[in-house]
């Protein structure tokens, strides 16, 4: 019997590992068709190890969602410990009384193994409850599993359950069949309490039957495990292998904040003199880096990203999860073409089926107005793999990246696809062209031009020092901060109020500052987020030259987007400055007693975290400290706050595009803010203020918001507390 079981076990193992291995080899080759990653990504071993410890071993991101997080933690560690039982099972195949050296015979070892096995089963029960409770059938689009492969997910749960019980049952039969091990009794099974249950159950069957049962159950448990392994390599459950390299090679500290420059073949593209063959963003699936392809393969379809996505939550055809699944499906469908041997002309030398040829021809991003395009529970359909509106619905808010437990870099992939669309195809929502033209010709998105850039300061009762106005060639030494007013602060009527409030507060605190005035131009953020890297580079280089010539060192900004670009992206073009957001600086000045908020502001407020301040740049506390310092002000947090803040709808250059699909993002957020019964809704970014003001105005028109509700920057509320006489009554 020993021989039979060995041979059978061996055959099963060889066949299944062969199948799994072949599949993994295929996936590896497919991954290799991607572009090289940018330099430096794979070289920081220390960071990779820390990430593995925190995210894989510690399950850091998963645990943010307590119940499913703990359940996943249990399954993960359950499986880790179960690996020992698997080793024991394979050992028993060769040598019936096998045990792991040294610890293998200690009763507590058996106890721990069984404990984790039982934890696994408990976790499975939790998953079953979650999957039933949150089923798309009940919740529709609101379900995070909407659009995921539901059948395979259930099958995975079922198989994990089978792996656990067959292993325990096998151990139970072993206890009955096996009396003596190589070093005496197999004492470890004494501690294996769950296996003992099975032993009790099988005991009445007698020694002989238990011996047969042991073999049968051993083969069964190995069969289950091996079939599961093969299945995993063909399913979304691949994450159990792929998340390890995916986390190791993720962008650190996170794929948020600044965007990466355009790389082609691992080298930065020089937009002044690009190479003829340089890739400008991603126009074909194989233009993604191998890390991109790895991302698509690693997605577990958990839907955490989808549950937070402002586009998805307002009925738009974009879910970051479905996007990842779509790109994976397209990569797999295009694999026969990609992996075919190519002749001199780059055409495959082997014959491809018509379907394969069609997929090879299929554009990555579909055309505008594609009637066949749809994004629903069946995934994304259309002429292109990614429908046009799917690509352009993204606000680059980063909620998906923040949530993803396996560190997928959605925003980078979306921007890379936009880059190709804009730079190579000039295909983008038409209305955004006005903004691009304005940036190019007037240096600001509204097309007002440099000459209008000092209008904001005119009503102030002190003089704002303007660089160069008195013939300065460099910023004088007594100037502590260069105040980057930003296009909105300089040109938008509402944002001007913030710009003035910040200037007044700095003036009050005795902080010497200077502005660039006409010499300031748009940082290029909307161009970059739209994928127009060329225009971004032009604006960035122009601004960096201005700043470097002026000798700027410390910069204070009021716009979250300017902040992000100046702090995180200008270093890419040779601009290295210490950049602070006005809320950080003001909080410091309040703490130092240089600004005294002494007047009561009797009002209820809530604070909206701008994506580019909060999630992208981790500034959560400074604005809250400011609000807390204002006497009389009562702050109520919204449900979706800080890392989980819900976008206002303006990011990713969406500010300059029509929003005519689904419901409006700003209204969704406004309603949540209004739910806290505020007198004033605060934020710390001019674009958020615009979006929320529009939202509040609309609700006021509809009569669902009180006429008195205002929207204002945190700095303006602070000013009310410092110098109430300086605050104009806002017109709503």
């Amino acid at each position: 019997m020993q021989m039979v079981r060995f041979v059978l076990g061996l055959v099963m193992t060889v066949v299944c590992l062969g199948l799994a291995g072949r599949r993994l080899m295929f996936l590896y080759r497919l991954g290799r068709t991607g572009q090289p990653v940018e330099p430096g990504r794979t070289s920081d071993t220390g960071a990779a190890v820390r990430a593995e410890l925190a995210e894989v071993a510690g399950q850091r991101k998963l645990l943010r969602w307590t119940v499913p997080g703990v359940a996943h933690f249990m399954v993960f560690w359950g499986f880790m410990v179960l690996l020992f039982t698997v080793v024991e099972a394979f050992g028993a195949l060769v040598w019936p009384s096998f045990q792991i050296p040294v610890v293998g015979n200690w009763p507590w070892f058996g106890f721990v193994e069984d404990l984790f096995a039982i934890m696994c089963v408990l976790a499975l029960a939790i998953f079953v409850v979650i999957r039933i409770k949150d089923a798309p059938k009940n919740l529709g689009r609101r379900s995070r599993f909407f659009g995921s492969h539901l059948g395979p997910a259930w099958f995975v749960l079922f198989m994990i359950f089978n792996v656990v019980w067959t292993l325990l049952a096998f151990r139970g039969a072993s206890i009955n069949a096996q009396e003596v091990g190589p070093s005496g009794k197999m004492r470890f099974l004494e501690g294996a309490f769950a296996s003992q249950w099975f032993a009790k159950l099988f005991e009445p069957l007698g020694q002989h039957t238990n011996e047969i049962l042991e073999t049968v159950l051993l083969l069964l448990s190995l069969a289950v495990l091996l079939v599961f392994t093969v299945f995993v390599t063909y399913s979304k459950h691949l994450h159990i292998f792929l998340s390890i390299p995916n986390v190791a090679y993720a962008r650190r500290p996170r794929a948020l904040g600044g965007l990466l420059p355009v790389y082609s073949n691992g080298k930065k593209v020089d937009f002044e003199d690009p190479g003829d063959d340089d890739l400008m963003g991603v126009g074909k699936i194989e233009d993604f880096t191998w890390k991109g392809l790895l991302d698509f393969g690693t997605c577990t379809e958990c839907g955490r990203c989808q549950s937070q996505c402002p586009a998805w939550n307002t009925g738009k055809p974009l879910s970051p999860k479905i996007l990842m699944m779509t790109l994976r499906d397209h990569a797999l469908a295009k694999a026969p073409y990609l992996l075919a041997t190519k002749g001199e002309d780059g055409e495959p030398t082997t014959a491809l089926t018509d379907a394969d040829k069609a997929e090879a021809q299929r554009p990555l991003v579909g055309p505008e107005g594609d009637e066949t395009a749809s994004v629903d529970e069946h995934g994304a359909r259309g002429v292109g793999a990614v429908p046009f509106d799917m690509l352009w619905s993204c606000t680059t808010c980063g909620a998906c990246v923040e949530q993803c437990p396996v560190d997928i870099e959605h925003v980078d992939h979306i921007v890379d696809m936009r880059r190709h669309q804009v730079l190579m195809e000039a295909a983008f929502p038409e209305e955004a062209g006005v903004m691009l033209n304005n940036l190019e010709h007037a240096g600001d998105p509204w097309g007002r031009g440099a000459s209008a850039r000092m209008e904001w300061a005119a009503p102030l009762d002190f003089e704002v020092r303007q660089f160069g106005a008195n013939g300065e060639e460099t910023i004088p030494d007594d100037v502590e901060y260069l105040y980057w007013v930003g296009c909105a602060g300089a040109l938008d009527d509402t944002a001007m109020r913030t710009a003035r409030a910040v200037a007044t507060l700095l003036h009050e605190a005795g902080v010497e500052f200077m502005v660039l005035g006409e010499a300031e131009a748009c940082t290029g953020d909307p161009a970059r987020r739209m994928g127009h890297e060329f225009l971004f580079q032009m604006l960035a280089m122009q601004n960096v030259e201005t700043l470097n010539t002026a000798g700027a060192k410390r910069i204070v900004v009021t716009c979250a987007h300017c902040f992000n670009t100046l702090a995180n992206e200008y270093p890419q073009v040779g601009g290295h400055y210490e950049v602070v957001h006005h809320t950080t600086l003001l909080a410091r000045l309040v703490a130092e007693g240089k600004i005294a908020p002494v007047h009561r502001v009797d009002a209820a407020t809530t604070y909206h975290d701008p994506c580019y301040l909060g999630r992208h740049n981790r500034i959560f506390t400074a604005p809250r400290e400011l609000l807390a310092a204002i006497p009389g002000l009562r702050v109520t947090e919204m449900e979706r706050t800080k890392e989980k803040s819900f976008c206002c709808g303006a990011g990713g250059a969406r500010m300059w595009m029509d929003e005519n699909l689904g419901t409006r993002i700003n209204l969704n957020r406004t309603d949540e803010a209004l739910g806290t019964k505020p007198d004033v809704v605060t934020a710390a970014c001019p674009f958020c203020i615009t979006m929320l003001s529009d939202g509040v105005s609309q609700r006021q028109l509809e009569g669902t918001a009180a006429e008195t509700v205002q929207v204002a920057d945190v700095a303006e509320i602070l000013l009310r507390s410092v110098k109430p006489e300086d605050v104009p009554t806002p017109v709503s």
Partner: protein, 259 residues
């Protein structure tokens, strides 16, 4: 059919314009661009070429050295090549001189159809197309809201008050294109790079056989005697409606002579 598009490189309308001591615009002190209104003509030419109606499209400008940027912009939208007439003696030229030089350059390039904008965005005289037509002795059809070419005839639709005029004329002809035509496409970076490889020929006045004394500030028929900046935008008047709003509004309008 060969199309030549006349394009003007104008000072950026949103920038602050400065004037030189001789009261001409200080072109060096202000960014320039391809006149937005000429982009409509460029787009039309590109479309005629894509449709196979035009076999060759050339862009022509008379302007300072930097005007070549305007030609590059046009070439990113479409067309095959460009001609740039530049000469220090052109400084301060008026519409008469500009049209003379354009006519001479057109004689040199040859053409079947000349397309122009409806007006420049700086001087906005809308006279150059007619002047060029007159100098060349060819037909003109101005302010085309739409255009089509069939055989040797160009037909345009011109929106005038209450009616749409359809005008047809035999080639060679000159047609000015209005801003009711489709907007120029946004050129892809790829097209911008490709435009850098398209040939641009530069001519001086001597190359065209134009006598330098017939152009420039000294030869201009109209003299600029002074330049005053327009007053800055003021805040305007807000009429709050407290029952009297309508009356106040009417009063305001009548006080300014609007009603």
């Amino acid at each position: 059919m060969k199309i030549v598009v006349l394009v003007k490189y104008v000072p950026e309308p949103t920038a602050t314009w400065k004037f030189a001591p001789d009261l001409t615009l200080d072109r060096g002190a202000v960014e320039g661009r391809l006149s937005e209104l000429d982009e409509y003509a460029v787009e039309q030419a590109a479309r005629l070429q894509e449709a196979g109606t035009a076999s060759e499209v050339v862009f022509l400008t008379v302007g300072p050295a930097k005007a070549v940027d305007g030609l590059r912009k046009a070439l990113a939208i479409g067309g095959d090549s460009a001609v740039h007439v530049t000469d220090a003696a052109m400084h301060g030229s008026d519409a008469l001189a500009t049209s003379l030089v354009l006519a001479k350059a057109l004689e040199k390039t040859g053409f079947d159809l000349v397309l122009t904008g409806m007006a420049s965005t700086d001087a906005e005289m809308s006279v150059v197309p007619s002047m060029v037509a007159d100098r060349l002795g060819i037909n003109q059809a101005t302010f085309a809201g739409a255009l089509s070419v069939e055989g040797g005839t160009v037909s345009i639709k011109r929106d005038s008050e209450g009616a749409v005029l359809e005008v047809s004329t035999a080639l060679p002809a000159i047609v000015s294109i209005t801003d009711t035509n489709p907007e120029a496409r946004y050129p892809a970076f790829k097209a911008i790079m490709a435009s850098k490889k398209k040939p641009v020929t530069t001519y001086s006045l001597a190359d065209l056989g134009v006598d330098a004394s017939s152009v420039g500030l000294a030869a201009a028929a109209v003299k600029v005697t002074s330049v005053t900046p327009t007053p800055a935008r003021t805040a305007g008047t807000i009429v709050p409606d407290e029952g009297e709003g309508g009356a106040q509004l009417a009063e305001f309008l009548s006080s300014r002579g609007f009603v």
